[in-house]
Subunit: 389 residues, 2 copies
Amino acid sequence: MTVSINPFIAGIPTNPLRALFPYGARPSMLNLAAGHPSKDAYDLQGLAEAAARAARDFSAWTYGSSAGDPALVGALAETVATVPAGQRLLVTSGSQQGIDLAIRTFAPPGATVLVPEPVYPAVLSTCAAAGVVPVGYQIAPDDTELVGLKAVLAANRDVRALYALPTFGNPTGDTLSLAQRLQLLALCAQHDMPVIEDAPYSELWFCAPPPPSLLDLAGQVDGCTVVHLGSLSKIMSPGLRIGWLIAPERIASMMQEARQAGDLQPNALAQRVAFHYLQLGRLADHVVRVRALYADRHDALVDVLTDAGFTVPKVEGGMFIFPFLPADRGNSDLFERAIAQNVLFAPGPAFCARAGSGLFADRLRLCFAGLAKPDIVLAAKRLVAAVRT
Amino acid sequence: MTVSINPFIAGIPTNPLRALFPYGARPSMLNLAAGHPSKDAYDLQGLAEAAARAARDFSAWTYGSSAGDPALVGALAETVATVPAGQRLLVTSGSQQGIDLAIRTFAPPGATVLVPEPVYPAVLSTCAAAGVVPVGYQIAPDDTELVGLKAVLAANRDVRALYALPTFGNPTGDTLSLAQRLQLLALCAQHDMPVIEDAPYSELWFCAPPPPSLLDLAGQVDGCTVVHLGSLSKIMSPGLRIGWLIAPERIASMMQEARQAGDLQPNALAQRVAFHYLQLGRLADHVVRVRALYADRHDALVDVLTDAGFTVPKVEGGMFIFPFLPADRGNSDLFERAIAQNVLFAPGPAFCARAGSGLFADRLRLCFAGLAKPDIVLAAKRLVAAVRT
């Protein structure tokens, strides 16, 4: 029997990061590829206490609102999310579900969505599944006039939305300046183009908080629409799969229907756990601890790499750096050589907006969140050894 | 600013069942509308024990496979799911996510999917969000040759899949006979049309197990493809949002990519809870208890309605009946009259495949799972009083 398959679904590219999972599972492998917090970056005691409380709530076990548990919606708005007047917060299954809902809500099949390049590759999978065409744009740190983005806008028609990860981006770790943010909002407003702001890393700053979010700034720019995506994955627990989206009421209502059509509602148990964890009042201290942990690991990693001739663009927070390999070193087979040294990284080309474009072959994404300091130094040394092989 | 919206998303019909939630929340309302198990149909002690065990597993809190926690996949296959050779089980967020994945995998925008009529309305939302056209088919209990379905097949082109809920259907409670199942598989094979078998209620039989699932029978029919959807929602806990799909390996792989594009992976915590609950070995006894509870409630509800002149098509399990109102009673304003009597039901027209078709105005869906026996008798009496007002 020949079953016919929707070409959008058949055409979803394999997620190059998830394809690395089997390597990461090898016993002596040090994993700089995965964007996963290390075990000591979880408040396991607090989570267990929250789980015990959640299990006593009947609402953890039964059906609930597709918009999210009202108690959690309230608690998020009081702690980690700011919901402007006229907007609504929906609980999502991680920010990935928010990306999917936002892209599908704005872009019908065949339309274009702009994505930063290098890009978090799961966004490309989402576009493919929706039959939407992702087109890359670049904003260099010194590009205050967004020249690159303007060129992309001039060259493309039927652009329905712009996806941005403006704070401690993935993979680059880059953060747009306040001026760039305001420019971006103005440009999108001018093109009647909503901005999908993905912000899972914003709390993970080293020395000073990042500039205000695009959502926070939207009120200063006439006519701009922002759908903001947040997540507890990087500050509480990724296994809970609790994220949220904030959107103007009318758009949020449509997204709620789309979410309901897809999987009915958020996970009731995980929502109760998140609610009780927030009620315990431990999040603020936990995040302070995680910030210090990651800053320290970042510095250790960057030191080894810089000494070995890597060029490491500066980042101010998040989980990733996206360094350039030493100029005099060939990078063919570097992935295999690194595997032989028991260190795993995410190759730069995994983050191309268009596969096979040849971009980023001289770069690699390294996560400094997943390994304790001695291991991260060892991993960096293994990587240097692989480069020098 | 005029933000452009994908017409598929803007066109998702409001789910008429979820629209009833606010009525159900009124304090003295007896709810026969919602398909929600009553509190005493949960093994809350076992679930709390499973949650305590899950909270001690680090894997409950971190990222995992998009196909599902391998331990849970194994435990499901050992207890409630049968995975034929060459097929694979993926954990989903309830069977609703399985419906969404299956419809989107087989049907591109503009194509047609056949759905039973009356239909579970969330399937229509899923079709709308995907830009897929749902067309209703009917299989009457005595329609052994599937004459109705054949007529629909003859009248429609570009049909990519058939969605079926063959066991204790929603809303009817109807179950296809063994002969009808074999006929259905043969007809679908003949049309190169995969069958999406939604089976959340199969374990909830009163006196005898239902006929084998379409998946179990597929091996007897050359050339048929079945994607089978199961769920723990009706036998363990809907708040866990744990379902599964079983599909041929090649199709399951594509569905896994689509799932990853949508929300990355199943909820890690909920999967660990489900795994530990299955390990506790309490499910079989719990399901036996739930079956008896529901059978008893069903009988009590049907007795009151039959005495009052309703015609109640016989069901052998599940959670729903779909009776006809007494022939001599007008049904205009019955919903409002019932609300005035503090009883809530789901009106028949909520289950039309095409809104405004006028079908099922003389029927209502009643759930016998959600209320204890004294309350279900009282609710039935209130409904009778509303009909007689």
